[in-house]
Amino acid sequence: MRLATLRSNVETALAGRVPSPFTYRDRKVIETVSAGIPEIDSLAGGLPRGSLTEICGPPCSGRTSLLLSALAARTAQPEACALIDGRDAFDPYSAEAAGVKLNNLLWVRCRNIDQSLRATDLLLQGGGFGLIVLDLSDIPPETVRYVPLNAWFRFRRTVEDTATILLLLEQESNAKTCASLVLQLGMGPAHWNTAFETKTAHAPRHPFVCLLDGFQARAEVLRSRIQPLIEISARHSFAQARAVNDAKSVRTSLETVFETKTMWGNRSSGIPAPKPK
């Protein structure tokens, strides 16, 4: 009785200022979309909208492959995407081969990190983009470390409550708690295909007839604020976990691997390798 009276008194005192002070509020469910790589979708739940996602790793760790897959998935919708290229390293040919619709991509070619951060500010303020990528992969880590934390915080606040995915590519994680998802990538073994070795009577033997087929990349989740898949599968329908490709998968570890393929690689493409003569 005393408890009921106390509760009634508190609700009366807070009436008009705090609605339903004793009502439990569910934690906000962040909408995620596919990153274009099933292994990453299963590991991290996809890329969260309205949040900052960091993808870290050394060169040749699969960051650009993941970036192109995400761009291909978004531009195919079609959503307008923007790429702020910190060192002008973007290759349109490999992007088109990955399925990126270049008409829907705004490429901003910057010369230094200052231009990159200011361009990101302008694009976030303009709004309307489905995916904005800030690519600082080729900028030395010691330079990126000097970016003040309030810059990342400002980016996170600007993109909050919007449908924009803000993706940050760099060599090491710098945004700290401002990032809702942090993925660390690493390089695995490269695959070389020697199925094209041929010998003919008249043509000279080609000295190196192997082809680069691709390489394996490792991905690890360092931080995630997206609801864990195990909770999603237990409490909500799978319609909410849009990035999940395999409804029966349950994340049991924070690591995964995925394979990348070159445009000319045919290991599993169904194109038969020519038989050696």
């Binding site: 274009g36 790589i37 099933p38 790793g57 050394p58 060169p59 040749c60 760790s61 699969g62 960051r63 650009t64 492959s65 993941l66 970036l67 192109l68 897959s69 079609p78 959503e79 307008a80 390293a89 973007f90 290759d91 349109p92 040919y93 490999s94 088109e96 990955a98 399925g99 270049l102 008409n103 705004l106 490429w107 901003v108 070619r109 910057c110 010369r111 200011r118 361009a119 303020q125 303009g126 709004g127 309307g128 080729d138 030395p140 880590p141 060599q171 090491e172 390089m187 490269a190 070389w192 000295p207 190196f208 192997c210 082809l211 680069l212 390489f215 990348t260 393929k261 445009m263 493409s269």
Partner: protein, 543 residues
């Protein structure tokens, strides 16, 4: 058949006030002539009440402290007359250009669109004020009666058929537009009003004043059977402004550009049109040119020209003067004029306003006008050539592409899938390769722009060791050489042998530092040997 006449009283003064709205309500005098012989050529009612007379010398007019003196501006008169015509065409396609300060509109068939004649007259007066002009409007079935009533009566005047003589009777005879000689003669006779003139016998009037007298008598009676001489609607939207003192800073220049844009946008809105491009010409003060260090031919040529021209091309027709001003400001910030500005000229290319049909299922995309402003700011930041949508070109030259204007698709996803059926075979093949690998993503490639010079040690034609960018490494696996060449008939021909190399780097432990990931120990790179320059380079890295 009713006609509406629109007359701008004190037209010369109103043309100047239209460009300087702060002068509205003040006593204004216009002077003209060859310096130092300036004489008063026009004055508004407030200046006339203060004692100003036409023909007065400027020095005498300057004795009146409450009077603002401005030079007569023929460019402003031309712009005001164009605005008056736009007002007429915004209501009816049948407009007569009677005089620089008077137009006549045929109101036939407009009642179903705009309402009664009184409503139309009020709308005309309202629209004129939006264009910066205070108009006198008269509606009559007789063309000449409408013109004279508009010239004689302030505000809005409605004359019913048959009442023309009665209504015009009280007007002075000078509203009929008679010559000075005839007016002087009528003054001697004591004929001062239209009623008095209409009472004179027409035969005797013709004997003394000729055909002009007959014509004046006819008009004073409210008669006249003249047909309208229609003006051709033009699509010329230009505004000019001459400055007394040159402008050097961007902020005051932006203020003046804003005024011109407001006038242009109001005129276009009256014609239900929008702007698809703006041409801006700034006449510079040759004596005020800044002492620039001439670095190249283009800046020397710019330094010699006395005009600074800019063209702003819009992705979609717009009519928001504030947005257009921001875009012009950003352009001028990136490429400012080299000298103070004496005159501004702005011309707008008209186009139909865009009609956008939004959909429930369309994906989010940037607002076109906000996107244009964002891109203009980015152009100022990174340069015009460093922003856009990359497009591949039809060549085998490595790394060749062009940058197009960013125009995202606004189609619904299911429409995109239908259009995929019409793609080229090449595109389908590349998508097949990209998508048919059981979920394996395509490998990414990062370019080095410009390519990095490298040293490569060969053994039996096979790369063994490489060094570039301060690192050394052993080659573990190699694919190549893959020869590519082309454009042999041009000066920039290429002839290259490409290699895909897997390199293990020799990184001393002292360089590993805080994060070992910052010093890669292995990597997949694309090298090439340039036969023309005879050197090794690193094109990029697989990532």
């Amino acid at each position: 058949m009713a006609r509406a006449a629109i007359h701008i009283p004190d037209f010369l003064v109103q043309a100047v006030v239209r460009a300087e709205p702060t002068l509205r309500g003040a006593a204004i005098v216009l002077v003209d002539g060859t310096p130092p012989l300036w004489n008063v050529v026009a004055a508004n009612e407030a200046a006339a009440l203060a004692g100003i007379e036409l023909g007065m010398a400027r020095a005498l007019a300057e004795q009146f402290e409450t009077v603002q003196i401005r030079p007569r501006s023929r460019t402003q008169e031309k712009a005001a007359h164009a605005a008056l015509l736009d007002l007429g065409w915004s209501v009816s396609p049948r407009v007569e250009d009677t005089a620089p300060d008077t137009i006549v509109i045929d109101l036939a068939g407009l009642s179903s669109l705009f309402g009664s004649e009184e409503t139309i007259a009020h709308q005309l007066a309202q629209r004129a004020s939006e264009l910066g002009l205070i108009a006198q409007v008269a509606v009559a079935s007789n063309l000449e009666a409408a013109i004279h009533a508009a010239r004689g009566f302030p505000g809005i005047t409605l004359i019913s058929q048959g009442e023309e003589a009665q209504r015009l009777g009280c007007l002075p005879v000078d509203v009929l537009g008679a010559s000075d000689e005839v007016l002087e003669t009528l003054e001697r006779w004591g004929v001062r009003t239209c009623e008095a003139l209409a009472a004179l016998p027409v035969l005797q009037l013709s004997e003394r004043l000729g055909q002009e007298g007959v014509r004046l008598h006819e008009w004073a009676c409210g008669a006249g059977a003249r047909s309208m001489v229609l003006a051709e609607p033009g699509l010329c939207f230009e505004e000019e402004m001459e400055l007394d003192d040159s402008v050097e800073e961007l902020e005051p220049l932006a203020f003046l550009l804003g005024r011109l844009l407001d006038q242009l946008c109001a005129r276009l809105q009256a014609r239900s049109l929008a702007i698809c491009a703006i041409h801006l010409r700034l006449d510079l003060d040759p004596s005020g040119k800044k002492d620039l260090q001439v670095r190249n031919d283009s800046s020397r040529r710019k330094n010699q020209s006395n005009t600074h021209e800019k063209t702003l091309t819009l992705p979609v027709p717009m009519r928001d003067s504030k947005m257009l001003l921001n875009l012009l400001r950003l352009q001028l910030q990136g490429d400012p004029p080299s000298a103070p500005i004496l005159k501004l000229f702005m011309a707008a290319e008209p186009a139909r306003p865009r009609a956008v049909q939004t959909g429930l299922f369309l994906p989010a995309s940037p607002d076109v006008e906000k996107l244009e402003l964002t891109i203009a700011r980015l152009v100022n930041l990174v340069g015009d050539s460093n922003i856009g949508s990359p497009q591949l070109v039809d060549t085998h030259r490595p790394g060749e592409f062009r940058m197009d204007r960013f125009a995202p698709s606004r189609e619904e996803p299911r429409l995109s899938r239908r259009k995929n059926a019409a793609r080229s075979v090449e595109t389908e093949r590349s998508d097949f390769i990209a998508n048919s690998k059981a979920g394996k993503p395509a490998i990414g490639f990062r370019m080095f722009r410009p390519p990095l010079p490298a040293n490569v040690q060969l053994q039996e034609g096979r790369p063994q060791r490489v060094s570039f960018r301060g690192t050394r490494g052993e080659i573990v696996a190699a694919s190549g050489p893959w020869r590519t060449s082309g454009d042999w008939w041009r000066e920039d021909a290429w002839h290259q042998d490409e290699w895909d190399l897997e390199i293990h780097f020799q990184v001393p432990s002292s360089r590993l530092g805080r994060n070992p990931a910052s010093c890669p120990q292995q990597g997949l790179y694309r090298f090439y040997y340039d036969s023309i320059s005879e050197g090794w380079f690193v094109r990029g890295i697989y990532d």
